[in-house]
């Protein structure tokens, strides 16, 4: 590290990145704060209306459904992806044939585009031709068939299952590589003491990868808050708003209802909600760490 005689050179180096980053990532947030106070349909004169947009958002029951669904997605991700991934990683964390194969297939859904996954799963859930209903019929459980995405009681469950499916592999691989860092001397010492595999897992393995588990929980929360593509393509928030999340609600109001001010107000709330949730979880988890 060294000091430069000409500090303007540093400015030259940093400014291109800073300008792009500011204009296209930070400024939009402020724009949404500004427009959230306006009534504007994109064409006619803009009108300042104070906090009326926010008031209306809070009075709309669909908005609260979308908040609830956002929380559901977060919970399904944290309590679905993390435990399944951890259990599978613990199972695979030993010398066995085909380990590489399990890893390769395990991670595959993570690299596939969300749009491809959404359309595929939409067909899997299809009530007439879908894989699930056909499978249920083939094994004689035809009475369990549902119109998975068309029925408000099942649609959110179906969406959550796809979300879990999409990202289990990511945490599976993260945990597998974390498990490789568990010092083998400690495990050997535990073996000499006659510890069973279960005891070793609880008392040695899990405590030593605890940090990675916590990081994964935070990642999982911030990742699942970004859910939009999947629901937009699979159900567009329907049927009867039953799978609406904040981002799909915002999209509908803004680009289908042509209410840019109202959409901006929802954007502000998404921003506040996401940041608050991430800050709270990191703070809670950090406290437990100490």
């Amino acid at each position: 590290m060294h000091l430069l005689k000409k500090p303007w050179i540093i400015a030259v180096g940093v400014i291109p990145a800073l300008v792009i980053y500011l204009i296209f990532s930070i400024v939009p947030i402020f724009i949404s704060f500004y427009y959230s106070l306006m009534s504007w349909n994109g064409f006619s004169e803009m009108q300042f209306i104070g906090l009326a947009n926010f008031k209306e958002v809070f009075q709309d029951s669909v908005f609260w459904v979308s908040v609830r669904n956002n929380i559901l997605v977060v919970l399904a991700s944290v309590f679905g992806q993390i435990p399944i991934a951890l259990a599978l990683a613990l199972l695979l964390n030993r010398k066995m044939k085909g380990a590489k194969f399990f890893r390769t297939i395990g991670f595959m859904p993570v690299v596939i585009s969300t749009v491809v996954i959404s359309i595929t799963w939409r067909m899997i859930y299809n009530s007439e031709y879908g894989m699930i209903n056909n499978f249920l019929e083939a094994i004689g459980l035809g009475f369990l068939q549902q119109n998975w995405l068309g029925d408000p009681t099942w649609a959110m469950v179906a969406v959550c299952i796809t979300i879990i499916w999409q990202f289990v592999g990511l945490y599976f691989i993260i945990f597998l590589s974390a498990l490789q860092t568990v010092p083998s001397e400690i495990l050997e010492a535990a073996d000499l003491d006659g510890a069973s595999e279960w005891q070793k897992t609880i008392h040695v393995v899990l405590p030593s990868i605890w940090n990675i588990i916590l990081i994964s929980v935070v990642l999982c929360i911030s990742g699942s808050l970004k859910t939009f593509d999947l629901i937009f393509v699979m159900t567009s928030g329907g049927p009867a708003n039953s799978t609406e999340v904040m981002a799909t609600y915002m999209y509908g109001k803004t680009f289908e209802g042509l209410r840019y001010g109202y959409g901006s107000a929802i954007s502000v709330l998404i921003f506040v909600f996401s940041i608050a949730l991430i800050l709270i979880t990191t703070k809670l988890l950090r406290r437990r760490e100490v």
Partner: protein, 290 residues
């Protein structure tokens, strides 16, 4: 003596039996996971070679006769060729800009001492927390004002901006690990900071650059929400957007949808299988460190 030998024998037999049962259970669970992960994809690819009629009465078997009409239909009517080109173009241009300005900024952030350095670095990294969906509406308004709506620029700039935080994060932490003697001799020889960047720091950062390139590319290649909001012209659509529109128009022609999806999926999976190590490292590292 004889008795104990018999006893020992039965114990080891039991232990062996238990071991075999345990192994088989582990394999069974991992195979189940593999099937759950891979079968939906396989189901889709297989059915893309069937006629619509065959798909409707035999969705599980292999195609009786492999038909390619679905592919012709997907390629011609869905225009997948042009979406491919758009995705590649936008993805690569955004990636090049992001890596270039990101590496340049990282160089100054990691190799120079100046006031506000940590603050600036923190400001970049905080961008990891900005929820993309909170910026969709303001980004639309911004792009409208800038006159970029319905051009590739409307995608390139946000893609750069939203990949900069992780790029700068990965590159800065990699570059700060170099010993400072590296530049000292170059400075003695009269090399300027730009020269040092191009001929010393950049080549040395190759591993981190590879990770950043892969992350950038996958993010851009799969991105849907900005494309949905900012591109309204079929000729400019990227693959995820084009596919979503195609599936929306051909809602009942499942086999053609599957052919379109397969066309997109095959290159992704090939890319993944060839570059598995780098992709997995990039995505899990980016995730854990981020």
């Amino acid at each position: 003596m004889r008795e104990s030998a018999v006893h020992y024998d039965t114990v080891s037999k039991q232990a062996r039996k238990r071991k075999i049962v345990k192994r088989s259970t582990i394999y069974l669970i991992l195979f189940l996971f593999t099937i759950v992960n891979a079968y939906p994809i396989f189901w889709m690819i297989m059915n893309s070679f069937k006629t619509g009629q065959e798909f409707s009465f035999d969705p599980f078997g292999l195609p009786n006769e492999w038909v390619f009409t679905n592919y012709v239909e997907a390629w011609v009517t869905a225009n997948i060729g042009s979406y491919f080109f758009n995705s590649l173009f936008v993805g690569i241009v955004a990636l090049l800009i992001c890596i270039l300005v990101g590496a340049f900024a990282s160089y100054f952030l990691s190799r120079f001492q100046f006031r506000g350095r940590n603050l600036l670095y923190g400001f970049f990294v905080v961008g990891l927390l900005v929820p993309i969906h909170a910026t969709l509406v303001p980004m639309f308004i911004l792009m409208q004002k800038l006159g970029f709506l319905n051009t590739h620029l409307a995608l390139i700039f946000p893609y750069v901006a939203f990949n900069l935080p992780i790029t700068i994060f990965l590159l800065t932490s990699f570059m700060s690990s170099f010993p400072k003697e590296i530049e000292e001799s170059a400075i003695m020889d009269g090399c300027g900071p730009f020269r040092i960047f191009w001929s010393i720091i950049l080549p040395m950062s190759r591993p981190a650059l590879a990770t950043a390139v892969i992350l950038n590319f996958i993010n851009n290649w799969n991105e849907f929400s900005f494309a949905l909001v900012l591109i309204n012209d079929k000729a400019l659509s990227t693959l995820p957007l084009g596919l979503a529109n195609f599936a929306g128009e051909y809602t009942t022609n499942y086999t053609a949808q599957m052919a379109g999806l397969t066309l997109v999926l095959i290159p992704t999976i090939l890319f993944y299988l060839i570059m598995e190590k780098q992709i997995v490292n990039g995505m899990t590292q980016g995730a854990v460190k981020g």
